[in-house]
């Protein structure tokens, strides 16, 4: 164990010399993984958070950080990080599983009304690719469309003229249809409309001031929609539609 630590200290001392920023981040990540294996969850959390301090993120990082928080018993933070991981990689089975499991431990059991099937299809479709993926697809299709267009304009294609025209139309429609999920996905990833309650029990008040009527209590890990801000207070909406003000420091935006 001592040798292990010594090794870390040595590596740590060498980092600024040997590795560029990216490498430092990778090191923090690897070290976090190692500490997680050693079941030193608070220390693992520190390492993972160090990566975030360096201004870099990734789905793996958020997932591992979520796991560490879960193991450390901080349900709200765990759910927050799983949700963030899911934002980057919405189809990831492991993230979804752990998030589902964590949500079971949330005290507020709010039944989610089932979505309309078209909406569900649309969401599944949008979630198949990340923003980057959609952007790549969009760019590729756009290049293809313009390429075919250019060929058609410049060359004399007597025999293939009709084929070329229908192909061009199909490509143009496909390009346009890719733009919609791209924007939707962008909206999902960059949405700051949802937050997770981090305090074990948070009073939800009727007005954004201390001492106003207490409407209900929300517990750690509950996902709320943030509608509005007023000073230190956030106007939140639960999934079932109940609205109330909570202190902004009691929740963190996903």
């Amino acid at each position: 164990m001592q040798r292990f630590e010594l090794f870390y200290i040595l590596l740590l001392a060498l980092i600024p010399v040997l590795l560029p920023a990216q490498g430092a981040v990778d090191f923090h990540f690897q070290k976090g993984n190692a500490l997680y294996l050693e079941e030193q969850y608070p220390e693992a959390i520190q390492e993972y958070e160090a990566v975030l301090h360096n201004g870099l993120e990734s789905a793996e990082l958020y997932y591992n950080l979520g796991n560490s928080y879960y193991k450390a018993g901080r349900l709200g933070k765990a759910i927050l990080n799983y949700e963030r991981a899911l934002k980057l990689r919405p189809k990831d089975d492991n993230i979804r599983f752990n998030l589902q499991l964590s949500n079971l431990r949330v005290k507020d059991r709010i039944d989610v009304p089932p979505d309309f099937f078209l909406l569900r299809w649309n969401r599944n479709m949008v979630q198949t690719l990340t923003v980057r993926g959609w952007a790549r697809l969009f760019t590729l299709l756009l290049l293809m469309t313009s390429g075919v267009f250019a060929i058609r304009q410049m060359l004399n294609l007597n025999r293939f003229r009709r084929l070329c025209r229908s192909g061009l139309l199909a490509l143009a429609i496909a390009t346009f249809l890719t733009l919609l999920p791209l924007l939707q996905r962008y909206g999902m990833e960059h949405s700051r409309a949802y937050g997770i309650i981090l305090q074990s029990s948070t009073k939800s008040l009727a007005a954004p001031q201390e001492g106003s009527t207490e409407l209900f209590i929300v517990h750690e890990g509950t996902r709320v929609q943030v509608l509005d801000y007023d000073g230190d207070w956030s106007k939140t909406k639960l999934i079932d539609g109940k609205q109330a003000w909570v202190r902004s420091r009691d929740l963190e935006i996903i």
């Binding site: 997680y36 201004g55 499991l101 059991r109 250019a150």
Partner: protein, 611 residues
């Protein structure tokens, strides 16, 4: 057989229904004094199922008692006759001829009406009012009421009795109304005492008040307590308990009989309606009560205005519970006093306990000598976290008017062990779906140790270079190919345009030919080609016909296009030089030709800029 019975019953029923009834109304006297009471009777004959009868209406009378009913059914020679009499006691409110309106009685499908009855009411005989009043203890009454109150000859009065006339705010003040009498056949309360500024609790009214005797000023009275109230003052200052009013039926002085039926509460109206009873209205004296404010000194914190003598107790259903499991905490305050105004002090519980609105149950016991009761607060608590839940002792402060000081009763506090919830319990407590319960047993999945794809926090595709670069390339492809397409179209469709576009390349083509021919001795051909290239270039650029284009036309055309005069000079000079050389073959050497060629080439380059 069965059908026959049913048919028979049906006919019988129809027969009974079809039977007519007779109704009539009557009074016992047609002439009365203002201080007397009449009996108004409605009798129905001919049926055994009696219809409902509305009370009589009259402007000049008020109902002081009734209705009382009597009915009789007789069967004579197989014929059934039934009758029912409904009786009210009416007191007149003014003099003159007063009409008791006809009463409509609905029976079956028909409506029967009684006749209207007129009663003459005379002014009350003066002696009854003018007579001096029965001596009553307490303050002197106010102005004598217009109607007959008690008179000495009646030998009766009503007295309101209180144990004390100075009370604390909120303290119970028992008031009893006692009737002192010598001979009363009947009585009916007319007006219950009104007590403004008091919360009133009634003691139950006894059907047969016990009668005792008492001698006042040498006169022997029987006395009976008619009504008892408990009053709780809600404000301070001098308050008044209004008098209670009753009407009593006493034997008329002319026919005063000391009958064996001298019971106080002889309910039989029909014993002898015309035996000469008379009705007397009596009322008690109004009572003045002084209400004191509770002492301000020594008032402990948490006093919420409870006055009386109370004990608070607490109970809890369990001391061992689990997280998220409800437990019941009960507080019970019992004692004497105005229990309806007793409030439990607010609970001070840790914030990790969810408290629901308490179930409050109040019981008021008015059977005893004073008002007692209890109030129970039942709280449902749900501890949300495990550990030791402390429920502090609860102090209930009240003012004891008997001792004249504040007292505190304390309910026991509790410490509840809240055990943490293991997963199985948790599942049973919340509404989980089946697949979720199966998930509960499992642990989270292991971390992902792949090399992550780092990206800057808050990065966006729309900030990336490649995205916009490729989009611009696509845009350029579309724009460029469209432009090229347009150029091709124009070249094919417009000869002037294509001549102009191709002018330089054609001229240079010719010059290239000349360069290859320069070595050979064909000066005239070279000159001709130089001339053609220059002339052709100008005509192509300006869209002129190439044939018949002399130096003069060229001069004019250049002038029209505002070409610099110096340049014009050079063009004309070269053209004329070439003209001359064509007709003077062999006059120039190779070097001269090369110079000439260079000059033409230069000129073309200059011209393409201005034309």
């Amino acid at each position: 057989m069965l059908t026959r019975i049913i048919l028979f019953l049906f006919i019988l029923n129809a027969g009974l229904r079809a039977k007519d009834i007779t109704v009539s109304a009557s009074v016992d006297r047609q002439r009365i004094d203002l201080d007397e009471v009449i009996s108004f009777m409605v009798s129905i004959e001919g049926t055994s199922d009696f219809p409902d009868v509305a009370p009589p209406r009259s402007d000049g009378f008020v109902i002081i008692s009734g209705p009382s009913q009597s009915s009789s059914i007789q069967i004579v020679n197989g014929a059934m006759s039934a009758s029912k009499t409904i009786q009210w006691r009416l007191a007149p409110t003014r003099t003159g001829a007063q009409t008791i309106q006809a009463i409509d009685i609905k029976y079956g499908r028909k409506t029967y009406s009684t006749q209207a009855i007129t009663v003459t009411v005379n002014v009350a005989q003066s002696p009854a009012v003018a007579a001096s009043r029965t001596p009553t203890p307490g303050p002197a009454p106010g102005s004598p009421p217009a109607r007959s109150v008690s008179s000495p000859s009646d030998g009766l009065f009503l007295k309101a009795e209180v144990p004390k006339i100075t009370v604390y705010k909120g303290e119970e003040l028992p008031v009893s109304f006692t009737l002192y009498f010598q001979n009363v056949r009947n009585y009916a309360p007319q007006k219950l005492p009104d007590a403004k500024g008091f919360w009133t609790e009634l003691f139950p009214e006894k059907r047969n008040p016990s009668v005792s005797t008492e001698t006042i000023n040498g006169v022997a009275y029987k006395k009976a307590t008619l009504r008892r109230l408990a009053l709780f003052p809600t404000t301070t200052g001098d308050l008044t308990i209004d008098p209670m009013q009753i009407s009593c039926e006493v034997p008329a002085p002319s026919q005063r009989r000391r009958s064996v039926f001298d019971d106080f509460f002889d309910d039989s109206f029909f014993s002898d309606p015309f035996s000469g009873t008379k009705t007397v209205q009596i009322q008690s004296e109004p009572l003045k009560i002084r209400v004191r404010e509770l002492p301000g000194t020594g008032q402990p914190a948490g006093f919420s205005g409870a006055v009386g003598n109370y004990v608070i107790e607490s109970s809890i259903d369990t001391l061992q519970t689990r997280q998220n499991q409800a437990l019941t905490l009960r507080y019970s305050i019992s004692g004497s006093g105005n229990i309806n105004s007793v409030k439990l002090p607010p609970l001070e519980l840790p914030s990790n306990v969810e408290i629901f609105e308490p179930k409050v149950e109040r019981r008021v016991n008015n059977q005893g000598k004073s008002i007692r009761g209890s109030v129970t607060y039942e709280y449902v608590l749900i501890p949300r976290t495990s550990g030791r839940l402390r429920i502090p002792a609860l102090n209930f402060v009240f003012f004891d008017p008997a001792g004249g000081r504040y007292q505190t009763s304390t309910a026991q506090g509790y410490a509840v062990n809240v055990n943490a919830v293991d997963q199985a319990d948790f599942a049973s407590s919340a509404g989980f779906r089946k697949e979720e319960i199966s998930l509960l047993g499992s642990d989270i999945r292991f971390i992902n140790r792949d090399d992550p794809h780092w990206r800057p926090i808050g990065s966006s595709v729309f900030k990336r270079v490649w995205f916009w670069l490729f989009n611009l390339i696509a845009l350029g492809l579309v724009a460029g190919s469209s432009g090229f397409h347009w150029w091709l179209e124009k070249m094919a469709g417009n000869s002037l345009f294509s001549r102009r576009r191709r002018a330089l390349s054609r001229a240079q083509q010719l010059l290239k030919e000349i360069q290859t021919e320069l070595g050979q001795e064909q000066t005239d051909a070279v000159c001709g080609k130089l001339d053609r290239s220059l002339r052709g270039f100008i005509s192509d650029r300006l869209g002129l016909a190439p044939s018949g284009l002399g130096p003069r036309e060229i001069q004019a055309a250049l002038e029209k296009h505002r070409v610099d005069p110096d340049l014009r000079e050079i063009v004309i000079a070269i053209l004329s030089e070439l003209e001359q050389l064509r007709f003077l073959p062999g006059s120039l050497g190779l070097e001269d030709f090369e110079r000439l060629y260079e000059r033409v080439n230069e000129l073309l380059m200059k011209l393409i800029k201005v034309l």
